[in-house]
Each structure stands twice: as structure tokens, then as C-alpha cells.
Symmetry: C2
Subunit: 345 residues, 2 copies
DNA sequence: CGGTGGCTCGTGAACGTTCACGTGAGCGTT
DNA sequence: AACGCTCACGTGAACGTTCACGAGCCACCG
């Protein structure tokens, strides 16, 4: 619209005004050199006289010139940007996974743009819409089914976090819930517990709940679906609320298996508020291995997950996808939880 | 180097091989349409026959075509990418700040690429080197002085987190440490404490330590520099170690002011291990307001900071910088801590 | 039957950089 | 004096996409 400069009069610059960003041409003109020389100066390559270099840099400073990352990226390939979608940055679990992703990405020279979906499926899709345009690959937590993801993905490679191979066609990195839960249930069983409830975090029968039910069957425990309560959210408050309901429905329980550490901590708080001392009256077992678990009283027994490794593995999967290789599918794409016995169970 | 297609024979594609990425031209040729039509199909604009659109999309799928974000960005302006540099994702404080940044950025339609500097000045500079090339602005925590930052910034706007105006020429968002510390010290003083130590987190005399010393003077407390111990790191372990030293140097203290909540929690643990009960024998005051503080026993009294707001403010500063406006300088760019009294003090 | 308008599609240009060359000046060597 | 080499710098092309415009086609209306 603003077709100014119609005569191309020299010196017609209005420096302070909110005009378009200066380009390499503008700098070249102001410094009285060619584009290439400007390029040499700002990228400090050789083949340039120190004096002219200084002159060019001065001109660039004057015009507040910054090279366009788009024009640059267009001509010199190799800049990789990955997207990372995290459900909730306030749950300490996820920043740790993110740290693993960031670390592995940094090693490869990649950048990571992070998106906090805040456990909202709409925002999840929105993240995909944006990242599919701006990233070369996406890794993250998604609740939506494969076909929805595909639709919003536009062909960008995707690596799912915490999904098993039977749950998705996409490449994924998972947690070996079965093995973890088995360890935990064995521990509770050996400690004499026979009436064990579960505070789940998701509504459907996810891997952790399925594993829990299977282990309960294996150990001959009197457990069915109503020993499982779903917490309203993955947080301490959610665990507190869930525990209230579990205690009301099944007051006879002597142990509780938490979907994650936050929920387990909430369970401990409710138990104590209800007059049950942990671990004597009620044992509590977590799942995650947050460092938070060491700080609460009693310290939380939990199934520790190497979260950084989870993140690093995800980046490795992305690398495979990009290289056209087959992604890891079996146990190589799993992280196996490790039982950490502290005071709560 | 691989100058194939020297005759431009049609159908000379080798689909499965690791060749260069397909461009819009390739898709156009395969589908027998023009570039523009391909563009219309993949961006689903109007002005295209549904049948040809499907044909084009099929061709795109076949060639695994994805539009170049660089070429796109070059022609259609408006995609803003900000860089966020965080010192330590494992400290729960920072993910929360990041959440604020991400939230505000999302509202503006910006993306955020996150970098974890892991408290390493070299990595800090490295982050700047990359982000100055790939981001339109940078916000974050930096230890380096202004001139070092400038050198690695290449003209990209920068907003510093937790720096006061007297500490930098850059735009910044700070925490009103003076007001916060004053509240905290008043609280301790009113509770009868006269011998108060500090567990600092940084070596130089930062705002929190200066405010602490000033308040101590104001209240007439017998406090000088050796009542202040610097913890080796900003973590529970760091607080434990620092508290050991403080207790050894000044066993007469009745209260401790922690640089942040993690350090304060560490102080509580060491105090208890040393046989001092909190808060009866020793009061502990934190600074941050992590949700973690509610979970430890006794619950941590602390100066709560609205971390999300801090992050949102930082994004607002970036927006001002980009618009050519003056950044907020005074109290508008501060977050004022709020004393939250719980059990530990 | 000519004009008008709506679809569908194609063509050059532009976006801002870097790359691969090319060029000319200056200087030393034989 | 002719040649060759190095240094400093400039010139066209290319990167892959979208935008503005224009063209062809068919149908409908007066």
C-alpha cells in the first residue's frame, strides 16, 4: 500500500519510524558496498578488509539490521527445529522429560519449540497445527487418537510419549508399566498387604490400571474395578480428592497404588487427615520417582522412571524417522521403572 | 555433486532413496498442475476443484512433500519466534516462569524455543549464538555482563529475567526483593527472632542479600557478612550443605532466611538432622512460593512470587521492544513477593 | 447473440540470503 | 615487461514459497 520512494531519491530514509525491517540491500547501499560484502562482515568470514568490515557493521547497527532467518534457512540447509508438546509444565515430571529432550536436541544441534497443551485436547490440536507448519518433527504427549493427529500433522514426523506399540501406529517411546507395577505389587504383597486399592489418573483402562488389575489377579487379591478410583486431576489435590472417595468406598484397604507421585502424595495427606498413619495403617506407593518424593514425610516409596532418558529416547526416535530408518519398536523404546523403597510402603 | 537428471527425463524419480526433499515443483509436475494449484491444495484455500485438490494431495503424499517453512516465512511475514533461556529445568521455579512465557506467547501467536543453560555460562553464550540467528527476540536468565551478552546477541532484542534496572541496560523484569525481604524480616522479628542467618544462593552481594543486610541493620540485629553462607547450588542438597556450615559458624541463630524454597527446605532437613526442631528451635523462611513448600513438614513459610506473571511480563516487554516502544522500567516491571505464613516460621 | 460473471487454473515477480564464480588492483618474481 | 598470485570485492543465480494478476472456460441473462 505505502508505495513510497517513488523516485528512489537517495537519503529518503526515515530512520526512527516504524517502517519495514532493513535488509542486506539497505546496509549495502548505506555502507557503499555490495550485499556479499555485507554478508561477509556480519558472518565474519574472511576475505574482507577490517576497515570496510567495521564500516559495514556500523551501517548495520545504524539501520538496526538483522538477517532474516528465513532467507538464511532457505539457502543454507541444516537447521532442524523440533516441536515438543507437554501436557502440564506444573507437574514436575514433565519438565524433567523436557530437560532430556532439550539435552539430546542440543547435542544434535537442534532447536526445540515447546508448547504447553495444558491437558486440553483443543490446544493439543492447535499445537499440532502450528508446529506442523514450523517444525521438522514433533514429539509430545497427545490424548487424541491416531487419525486426529494425522489430520493435524500434515505429514510431519511424530513421536508419541508414553504410548505402547499397540496403542498407536506412530513411533513412540513408552514406559514399561507392566514391569513397574509388578515390582510394586510384589513389594506390597511381600509386606503383607492383601487389600490394595488404586488411585488412577485416567478414565479409560490405561496400561497402569490394566497392569494393576492383572497383578492383583495374579496375587489372588480381592480386587475388581471398584477398587480403582479415578482422580480428577494429576496433582496432589487430585490425589487428595481421589483418596477421599477410595477410603469411603473401600475403607478396608491397607495399601494404595498411586498413578503418579503427586497423586500418591495427595493420598498420604488425605490418609493422615483421616486418621490413618502412613505406612503403619496404610501403605502408599507412587509411580514416577519425583525428587519431591524424598522431601515429604514419610518419604514416598515409588517406581522411579528415568525421565531424562525418556526424553532423550524420544529425540533418538525423531532422528531415526528423519534418517528414514525404522524407529525403535521393542524394549529399546521403553523405559523400565525401578522400585525405590523409602518409608511410605 | 550429484548432477543427475542431466536429460531431464520424465519419470526419473527414485522415490524411496534418500534424495533431496520434494518441493512444490515436484508435486506440481507429478500432479500435472502448476505450483499455485499445489499451494491452493495444501493450504486449502478456495478456488480449486475438489477433484484436482485430491489428486494434488495424493501426489504430495506420494512424494512425502512438506512445504519449506523458510520459503513460507520469507514471503508471508508475521511468524514470531522468541527464545527462552532457563538456567535449570529441575528447579520447579523455572518451569513455572516458562509456563507464563509460553502462555503469553501463545496468546500472541508466537512460538518459543526453549534452551536449558544448566547454569553454565558457556552454554548461556552458546544459546545466545544460536538464538540470535533463529529467534526474533530472547528472554531469559543470564549471568554474563551486558557487554558479553551484547556481543553474542547480534542486535536481537533481549529481556532479562530477575534483573533490576541498575543491574543492566537491557530491558528486564525483576522481583522486588527489597519489599519481599522486608516483609519476611518483619515477620521473623515480630515472632521474637533476633539472631537471623541467611543461606544465600549466589556469591556476589545480590539483591536478596543486600536487602537482608539492610533489614537486619534496620532492625538492629547483630548481623554481618559471616551470618550469610552461600550454598553450593540452588537445590535442597545445596541448602542442606549450606545449613551445615551456617550452623557450625553461628550456632546461636534462631531463624534462617533462605535464598529460595529449595534451599530453605534443605535447611529444614539439616536443622532436624542436627536435632533442632522447626519452627520451635529454629524458624525457616523461604523465598519463591513453590507448591512444594506446602507438602513438606512443617509447611514452609515463604515469600510467594507470582512466577507465571513474571513470565507474562517478560513477554510483554518483548512486545514493547518489538513495537519500538520504551520497555517498562519502574514498578510495572516488578513482581512483588507476598508473605505466605505457614508452619516453618 | 453478445455481454457479464463466476470458477478454475497458470505465470511472472518478489521475499532476503548465501554460493559459486568472476574481476580488477596491487605486488612480487623471473 | 610479462606473468602469476593473493586479496578485496562484486555479480548473477538459486533456494521454495506465496501474491497479484490474468486467462480460459462455461453458463446464464437480457
Amino acid at each position: 500500500m505505502w508505495t513510497d520512494n517513488q523516485g528512489a531519491e537517495p537519503g529518503a530514509e526515515r530512520p526512527g519510524s516504524a517502517r519495514r525491517r532493513a535488509t542486506i540491500h539497505d546496509v549495502a547501499r548505506l555502507a557503499g558496498v555490495s550485499r556479499q560484502t555485507v554478508s561477509r562482515a556480519v558472518n565474519d568470514k574472511g576475505e574482507i578488509d577490517p576497515a570496510t568490515k567495521e564500516r559495514v557493521l556500523e551501517a548495520a547497527r545504524l539501520l538496526d539490521y538483522r538477517p532474516s532467518r528465513f532467507a538464511r534457512g532457505l539457502v543454507q540447509k541444516g537447521a532442524v527445529t523440533a516441536g515438543l508438546v507437554i501436557p502440564d509444565l506444573r507437574n514436575p515430571f514433565f519438565p524433567e522429560v523436557a530437560a532430556g529432550v532439550l539435552e539430546a536436541a542440543e547435542q544434535r544441534g537442534w532447536q526445540v519449540v515447546v508448547w504447553d497443551s495444558r491437558i486440553d485436547e483443543a490446544r493439543e490440536r492447535q499445537a499440532l497445527d502450528v508446529l506442523s507448519h514450523q517444525a521438522d518433527a514433533v514429539v509430545g504427549y497427545f490424548k487424541g487418537p491416531d487419525d486426529v493427529l494425522t489430520r493435524h500433522l500434515g505429514g510431519v514426523p511424530l513421536v508419541l510419549l508414553e504410548r505402547g506399540p499397540q496403542q498407536t501406529r506412530f513411533a513412540a517411546v513408552g514406559i514399561d508399566a507392566a514391569t513397574g507395577v509388578e515390582q510394586g505389587m510384589n513389594h506390597l504383597f511381600r509386606a503383607g498387604h492383601r487389600r490394595i486399592g488404586m488411585l488412577d489418573g485416567v478414565h479409560g483402562p490405561g496400561p497402569r490400571r490394566l497392569a494393576f488389575l492383572e497383578q492383583a489377579r495374579r496375587l489372588g487379591l480381592p480386587v475388581d474395578e471398584d477398587w480403582v478410583v479415578v482422580c480428577p486431576e494429576h496433582s496432589v489435590a487430585g490425589g487428595e480428592a481421589g483418596m477421599e472417595r477410595l477410603l469411603a468406598a473401600r475403607p478396608e484397604i491397607t495399601a494404595v497404588f498411586g498413578f503418579n507421585d503427586l497423586i500418591a502424595v495427595g493420598a498420604m495427606r488425605t490418609a493422615r487427615r483421616r486418621g490413618r498413619s502412613v505406612p503403619d495403617d496404610l501403605a502408599v506407593l507412587g509411580f514416577d520417582g519425583l525428587s519431591l518424593g524424598e522431601l515429604v514425610d514419610p518419604a514416598l516409596t515409588t517406581l522411579h522412571i528415568d525421565k531424562r532418558r525418556l526424553g532423550r529416547l524420544a529425540v533418538e526416535q525423531v532422528a531415526r524417522l528423519r534418517a528414514g530408518e525404522e524407529p525403535l519398536r521393542g524394549a529399546d523404546a521403553w523405559v523400565v521403572p525401578e522400585l525405590v523403597i523409602r518409608a511410605s510402603a
